[in-house]
Symmetry: C2
Subunit: 185 residues, 2 copies
DNA sequence: ATCAGCATGTAAGGCGTTACATGATTCA
DNA sequence: TGAATCATGTAACGCCTTACATGCTGAT
């Protein structure tokens, strides 16, 4: 059972650009990355510890601060590990959408309930979409920067799919609109 | 820490229509449901056991078969539980797309690598899309059936988003096409 | 006869979340 | 002075996957 913790790759990917503390890493993940990956302190700090033991990252003493701040620096071995992962074509892409689950089984309750699920989803997506559009605007002027181009690609993925979600929400609302049909378990 | 095992709801949702064995449940999940939720034997059988203890489902003796087949039947309590979940608006929708993760950090490797990730993703989606279109064709003639309508909604969600994915793939390939730009860590 | 598929389950272990515990600093 | 945020971590627990273990049945 080979170790397959993706959070390690997220961390290595972030450290490839700059030394960061665990706290910084969390903030980065909570930004644009959260669209397709998540991480909590409870997964980040232990990952940093075990990666240090493996020699993928190393601690850097923080001279300046008064407050405890442990910066991590990626080692050559860490970079090799990151590259190997990036170059491996296979990737697992998983969706866990409870909204869809509820809708799938929604035939057992009345349509108003299903409709509520769709509307809640629509609101959630609308909010996130506007944030993504902000990110996009910031990245667009500088696509010559190789990193920005790649960030742009993932943001663009988010926008394209969220717009599709909203389109689907419209269709779903229309199909569910005929409230004369009521079905109770 | 309230129990929050969604697989229980998937099982209840399936059993709301017919008595099924654990093996049947697995097959159902591997079908259209797998688009937005997954389940393995290692999660299904234990879930059935614990739900039986809670009184949400009950075993039904299998008179006919020679082969061991344990059918599960949902109880009134199980139906109440399913309804309560369906009527609860809040839902967690999570995406874990390793492809996007690789792309996000792709600025550190050459573009050919990023391009390969996109192409692999495109192939995966194209294949799944044609399957979904098949499902759709089967459901379309009978949308008056409340269940079919709901299945249709989730299949339609898949098709709409997969089409958006493919549209994005085109954009991504174009943006990554300028192979003169090579960047190595 | 043999292999794929039917059918049930358990065991080990990884991954991750939430809550907790602790304390410093900044700003109103 | 008190709240928010910075900052690091641990503990308990839940959930899930993979691999294993077992045996039957039907088709070629």
């Amino acid at each position: 059972m080979a170790k397959d913790r993706k959070i390690d790759m997220v961390i290595l990917g972030l450290l490839a650009h700059e030394d960061l503390t665990g706290y910084d890493i969390k903030k980065r993940i909570d930004g644009a990355i959260s669209l397709f990956w998540k991480g909590s302190f409870g997964s980040i700090y232990p990952a940093l510890s075990s990666m240090e033991k493996e020699g993928l990252v190393e601690k850097k003493a923080d001279a300046t601060g008064k407050r405890e701040r442990i910066f991590y620096h990626v080692t050559d071995k860490g970079i090799d590990c990151l590259k190997a992962w990036l170059e491996d074509e296979k990737a697992t892409n998983d969706l866990k959408y409870e909204t869809l689950l509820k809708l799938h089984f929604g035939g057992s309750v009345d349509r108003a309930t299903s409709l509520k699920s769709v509307v809640a989803f629509e609101e959630e997506i609308t909010e996130k979409l506007s944030l993504l559009q902000l990110y996009k605007k910031n990245l667009e002027p500088d696509l010559d920067n190789e990193d920005h181009l790649h960030y742009y690609l993932t943001v663009s993925f988010g926008i394209t799919t969220y717009e599709a979600y909203l389109k689907w929400c419209e269709e779903a609302k229309k199909l569910l609109a005929h409230m004369d049909k009521i079905s109770i378990i």
